[in-house]
Amino acid sequence: MHIPEGLIPAQQAVVWYAPAMAFLGAGLIGLKRHLAAIPSSRPLVGLMGAFVFVISLMPIPVPGLGTVSHPCGTPMAAILLGPLTAAVLGSVALLLQALFFAHGGITSWGANIMSMAVGGSFAGFAVFKISRRAGLGLGISAGMAGFVGDLVTYGLTSLQIALALHGDEPAPYVWGAAFVSFMPTQVPLAIAEALFTAGVVVFIANERAEILEGAVVRP
């Protein structure tokens, strides 16, 4: 779920923008170097950006909360290209979705970057790396990355909504309520994202292993 234009107060929008721009800037510096060194990696970067765009634009209604939920795609991008590049791709996808589908917003772009592009990418990538180091298989590691990345994204989005809308209630209480409201749709979606991420990563490893070995842009 992307936070729409106008929901977050101006001060909070600035607070979310600051770290989002830092991650985006760092990701762009790394990506610029990578594209200059390996120009042939452009198709992979563009393709993953498009994948994130498509995957995160599948609205599924959330009962009770009156809004929609969707998979993220950023954990898969982080496995293939590294978390900072995945953060850049997520940011681009969010901007295009805001402009062409009013899905998200411009002043809420920073908040959406922090939850989906940064949170989903880094959580997914960390889980993938830890799982691989623990000796788990590629499919299981990728699946766990998809599952955790998805839930972390929604945990952060729920926090952002709670901070913006808690009114006179304690923010942690509203955060918990929002997160629980997402669960009926988000857990099945996280499982679907896990299966999809695992399936695609294993398929790529079997068919074109060099994409997994050579393409990761190091953070």
């Binding site: 106008g6 498009a50 994948f51 009114g167």
Partner: protein
């Protein structure tokens, strides 16, 4: 890729006056409107912005269905804002529904928030629907957005169409072989579809990228926007006047 046939920006390529306005003017003006909408803290400011955007959409003949589709997402959140504020924000209780007290102050604040969300959504809709991506990218470049960011934006946009074309073809082929006849076969088909789609589009992209490099094509961002014309200056002045009026209202007007 022209982006005219099945793309999201087919209207933007048309000959409406909104599409002809220089994207730099639109970006600067709409950024100002977004800020005023957010910090204005006034029903009147957000209401006037929403009204102005609706009038612009009618005057620019933006297709109705497109407008409704795009405003659906912000509207669900607007509803959510009303409900959540009525419950969470204190003040006078006007109805008690089981464990929930509904507060009058919260209801009014929720209504204001929902107006702000709808107005903000409409600003973004008008900007997005009336500006083709290539002109938007050139304008962003003019505003000194990083070239790598613009390049990734253009690459992403281009691959969306490749994914769309391959996806339709492959899904149809799977369906004709009963690949989606049950939940089990559907799951297997979706994984196969995801992986194959990725590889096919990737290989197609590699070939076209290689061909472009052989032809000497450089980075994707190229070209420049023409100098602003009379329409652009008029539009800029109109937005500046509107923004000034809104700012005065926000500073001294009724909350």
């Amino acid at each position: 890729m022209t982006g005219t046939s099945h793309s999201g920006d087919s209207y933007a390529w048309g000959d409406s006056f909104l599409s002809r306005i220089d994207p730099r003017v639109k970006i600067a003006g709409f950024a100002g409107l977004l800020m005023v909408n957010l910090v204005g803290a006034s029903y009147l400011v957000s209401g006037l912005i929403a009204l102005a955007m609706v009038l612009l959409m009618i005057a620019g003949r933006i297709p109705y269905r497109r407008q409704l589709l795009m405003i659906a997402f912000p509207s669900t959140f607007a509803l959510f804002a009303i409900i959540s504020q009525t419950v969470f924000k204190g003040g006078e209780v006007f109805v008690a529904l089981g464990p929930f007290d509904l507060h009058l102050d919260g209801l009014f604040h929720g209504l204001y928030l929902s107006l702000r969300i709808v107005a903000g959504g409409l600003i973004v809709v008008v900007l997005g629907v009336t500006t083709p991506l290539n002109r938007l990218c050139l304008a962003l470049r003019w505003f000194k957005a990083p070239a790598t960011f613009i390049e990734v934006m253009q690459l992403t946009y281009r691959y969306l169409f490749d994914i769309h074309a391959e996806f339709s073809r492959m899904r149809e082929a799977q369906r004709s072989r009963l690949g989606w006849s049950s939940a089990r076969s559907g799951l297997a088909s979706s994984r196969m579809l995801g992986g194959s789609l990725f590889l096919r589009v990737y290989e197609r992209g590699l070939r076209s990228s290689e061909a472009m490099r052989c032809r000497g094509s450089g980075p994707v961002v190229n070209g420049a926007l023409p100098r602003p014309g009379r329409l652009d200056i008029l539009a800029g002045l109109a937005v500046a006047a509107f923004l000034s009026a809104l700012s005065l209202l926000a500073l001294g007007g009724p909350a």
